[in-house]
Every structure is written in structure tokens, then in C-alpha cells.
Symmetry: C2
């Protein structure tokens, strides 16, 4: 688990923007579980952040100075500015945010990478059908709770696995899950999951890995689909832990397990965002955010996110 | 591992065929790894064989008596007659074999379930492209060696993992594999597999499971595809053994792992069989069979197949 002492807050002068560059002042910084992976010195789908580098992260903000004709001062933009209050970046790294949008913060959450991860992982990787049972691990996280809500829109029975009774109640009472169960401290997890899925599992959306996944795989139905979105239970381990080998069950069930990233579907993002926005406006999707004030509190909030302390999408309000 | 004392040879009278039934005399009985799974008292994709029941198995034979207009005495047929020299079964359980076929035995092997398993597992589940690296575990088995040959036809680089130097030589020298390595007794298996796959692994066809699969998963390329056909390393265990949890690598590589059965593609079998027959006739596919004489030797041959003692498709010549 990262420690606050792994982070350092540094004040440093900005270079003035050159040709084609913009100075952007951040409004919100997104905190996401994938960032934990960037802190490891091992191979992943992207480069690790080196000691002394600015931590990676997506920011929504406003253009202050623009040396590019496509952007004007005041324009709302989103981009990978890292954990910084202000940054100078090439304009081509920035995407202009639709000014008609309700709130800038949603650009980073339910109408941004978080929401799109849920959308494509569920709808494209798993292709759920009405009446099917969808199980989600790490269900109270920003991605997990969105996956569950989309699955409900599609007419599925939705079961969440989470870390506390508070979160389980939140999923059932506020996010519309049919069932939610607490994993970890309580015994008989696999039996309780089986009881919550009397018709087996057709779709398993995995944010967690470990023993929850072992239990879910044992309950898969014929032609079941598993999307591997995250493996939070493994991120703080030096090496992967051991678990039962369960590939045989994939043969028996003719089941599929697939890893994915939201960027695999980049060409389809605009259409998906329109759909998500319509669902949000129609009240079919609920958005919950956990906003922390000030970049100096980002490390603490990041650790709390990894520990699952609060509900909703984690954001840092900058400046 | 099954023992000879798990089997009993019984001579019992046959009922005469009723309306719509046929008496069939078997010519060859197929021996296959899946049969091991039917000897377990646990859930699989098909019912277990109960103690006292006839062991399941596919047979090619000839009709002796027919009470169905579609079949005549002397017709060659294939069907699930079990480990029996003769059987009375409904005619609808039988498929007439093309009389123009070179050899009855191929109906059970390269032009039967074995060949179709290789064909669909590789071409449909994994969709290999020319130039890609295909790794096969249990590569000298009847399915594995056919997978490798089809992958060569498709222009892939083919690497087999097998259990002995004899088999590795067989794969390289007779089956056209680009490389074959021995797993188990020799150390540094993962390093040797990595050395045999300098461009990583695009397709992994798994007959074995266990440590070979762990090593292969670590070498997967972006968008790699894994077909899970068998898990021979696990079949004789009372419970699955433990291995490193590697799902995180599926996210990093956006890779897919899929279990399948040859029956998932039943509608496409005729077209696939024509293709396989054309390749066989053109000398692009080689067929190797290990034929044992007499049903009394079936249990011993079955154990030898599970132990990987001989090369090629295992068949028992009946009567």
C-alpha cells in the first residue's frame, strides 16, 4: 500500500507555453486505481512513473494561455496533466469539453474514463442479455457501481461484492443492485455468493481478483463471459499470490475471460458518451463523487481510495 | 491416474435390435483424454460414467442388422457405442461414413473429433494470422500435433511444449514444428520457452495447464488469444492445485482466454471436414495413429495415453 511519504509536493516554475502549446489551470484531478500500477517498477500496459517524475493523472481544467488557434482562454479542456495545479502541454493533448455539460467533474467520472470503462467492459466485452445474472467485484467503486447500473438498464439481475456493510447497503439502496454481499471478514463467502446467484453467473465483471474471482468462476454458467478490468487485490503484492487453478472450469462452461482497457474502444467513445449522458439526464444512472480539496490532500485521498474508505468517484478539487 | 483394476471386461448378451435400431460391430474404438474426466464423480460438461456402466467412447464400425431404412448391413458408421465390440443402438445415434474415405480409422482421429477439435480451437477460438507465434502445450498428443500442423499451413511460427526428447524430435522432424521443448524434468522451463518465442506469444493452445500455462501467459503479446482445450496436468488431482494468479497480465495484454468444445461448432463440422480431408490428401497434414489390438487391451492403452507413452492418435482395433 502506498504511504504518504512516497509523495512529495514540489513548487516549481512553469515554462511559458511555446508554439502550439497551452497553459491550463486544473479544476479537478481524477484519482483512479490504475495509478497504483504506474507506481510499480514492472511491465504494464504503460510506462511506470519514475521517482522524481510528476504522477500521472487526468485533469479537467480551463485554458489560461493558448498558442494554438483551436483553443481560447477560458475553454474547458480535459487531458493528462498529471498531479499538477497548472501545466503547459501541447494543445493536441487536450480535448475540449462540451460547454453544455452539466458539470466539469463528470468529464473525469461517469461521463469520462470511469463511465466508459464500465460501458465498454460490460456491454462490449460481456454482452449481457436481459434476465442474465451479472456479478461485479469491487462493486462500490466508481467503475463497479456504474457497471451495475448499466446492467440494470439492460434488464439483468445484478449482484455486487464489496468490502463493508455500508457499501453493500449503498449498492442495494442507492444504486439499484438486486443483491450485495460483503467479502472478507465474514465466512462462507463462496456459499453466500452462490446463494445470491441461484441461477448461476452469466457475466462476471472483475475489479478485484483473488478469492472473489475464484468463487465467481466456480459459479459460471454455460457460455459465461468474464471481463477483467482490475485486480485490486493483487496491486500491493510484490509477486502474484497463489490460488486454485480453475481453467478446467472454462472448458466445462465454454466460458471466456478477457482483459480490456477503455482505450481499446476509443473510436466508439463519442457514441458511448452520448448514451451515458442520456441515461444520466433521464435519471437512469446516478453519479456519486467524493471530492477532496487541494492537491496537497491528493496522496491521502489516493490511499483512501485504494483502501475503499469512501463511496463514489474520487476527485481532487485544485486551486 | 486410473489403474487397470478400475476396469472390468464383461461378456453379456445383446438384446436383438428393436424398431429403428441397429446392431453394429465395432472396427475401431477411439481413446481420448476427455474420458478421464468422465471417470470423476464431479460436475463436468457431461454426465460421469457410473461404476458398472459401459465406459463412454466413440467407435467406427459396420452395421450388422438394421431395422431402420436409412442404414443397410455393411454400411460403415460412427457413433458413441462405448467400449464395446458390438452394440445395439437407435439408428439416429449413428452417422454414416462416406464410403469414399481412405481409412475408417481417420473417422475417429484426424478426420473426426480429434481433428475438428484442433481445427476449431485454433482457427475459430484463436484466429491466428500469418507470422504470429503459436505455442501448444501437450503438443505431441493427437490434438496438439494437428493444431501445430494447421498453424503451419496458416503461416505461423509454431512452438510445441512436450514431455520427452523423443516427442520433441517428432514434432520438429515429422510434424514441421519450428521449435519444440521438453517440460518437466529440465530446469528453466520458462526461460527456455521465452527463448523459443523471441517475438512473444500471440496464440496459446492449452492441452495441459499448470506451470506451462503460467509461463505462456507471462509471454503473451498484446491482444493474444488462449484456447483452453484440456488441462491434463490437473485431471488426476482430487482438487485443483495452486498456481500464481495471473489475471492482471490479461489486462496488460488485453488478452482473451476461452474454453471450448468441438460440439460448440457442430453446424460447421461438414465444411471443416472437407478442408481437413483436402489438406490430408495434399500432404499438408500428416496423420499418425497408435493402434492397439483387442478390447481387452483398451484399459492398458488408455493409461498409456494419459501417461503420453506413444505418439499419435490412440485407437483400439476391435474383434
Amino acid at each position: 500500500m502506498p504511504k504518504l511519504s512516497d509523495f512529495e509536493l514540489v513548487i516549481s516554475p512553469l515554462q511559458p507555453p511555446g508554439p502550439g502549446e497551452c497553459l491550463v489551470r486544473g479544476v479537478y484531478l481524477s484519482l483512479d486505481p490504475y495509478m497504483r500500477g504506474r507506481m510499480d517498477d514492472r511491465k504494464s500496459y504503460a510506462e511506470s512513473v519514475q521517482v522524481g517524475q510528476v504522477m500521472v493523472g487526468q485533469t479537467v481544467g480551463r485554458v489560461v494561455v493558448s498558442h494554438h488557434p483551436a483553443l481560447q482562454p477560458g475553454d474547458p479542456v480535459v487531458g493528462n496533466l498529471g498531479w499538477q495545479e497548472q501545466a503547459v502541454v501541447p494543445a493536441k493533448w487536450l480535448t475540449r469539453v462540451d460547454p453544455g455539460r452539466e458539470s466539469l467533474s463528470t468529464t473525469l467520472g461517469i461521463l469520462g474514463m470511469t463511465g466508459l470503462t464500465a460501458y465498454f467492459g460490460l456491454l462490449r466485452v460481456c454482452q449481457p442479455r436481459a434476465g442474465e445474472t451479472v456479478v461485479i467485484s469491487g462493486a462500490a467503486g466508481a467503475v463497479g457501481s456504474t457497471v451495475g447500473q448499466i446492467a440494470k438498464i439492460k434488464g439483468c439481475r445484478v449482484v455486487g461484492v464489496t468490502g463493508s456493510q455500508t457499501k453493500a447497503s449503498y449498492l442495494r439502496e442507492q444504486m439499484g443492485f438486486d443483491a450485495a454481499l460483503v467479502w472478507g471478514s465474514e465466512p462462507h463467502g463462496p456459499d453466500r455468493l452462490a446463494a445470491a446467484c441461484p441461477d448461476g453467473i452469466d457475466v462476471y465483471f472483475d475489479n478485484l481478483g483473488g478469492s472473489v474471482t475464484d468463487a465467481a468462476v466456480a459459479l459460471l454458467n454455460l457460455k459465461a463471459r468474464v471481463a477483467v478490468c482490475g485486480q485490486s487485490s493483487q496491486y500491493n503484492l510484490d509477486r502474484p499470490d497463489q490460488g486454485p487453478r480453475w481453467l478446467r472450469n472454462l472448458i466445462i462452461k465454454r466460458a471466456k475471460v478477457q482483459g480490456f482497457l477503455v482505450w481499446d474502444f476509443e473510436e466508439e467513445h463519442p457514441r458511448a458518451l452520448r448514451q451515458m449522458r442520456d441515461w444520466l439526464r433521464a435519471g437512469k444512472l446516478r453519479n456519486r463523487e467524493h471530492v477532496v480539496e487541494g492537491i496537497e490532500n491528493a496522496p491521502k485521498a489516493f490511499v483512501e481510495m485504494l483502501e475503499g474508505r469512501h463511496l463514489g468517484k474520487y476527485l481532487v478539487r485544485l486551486a
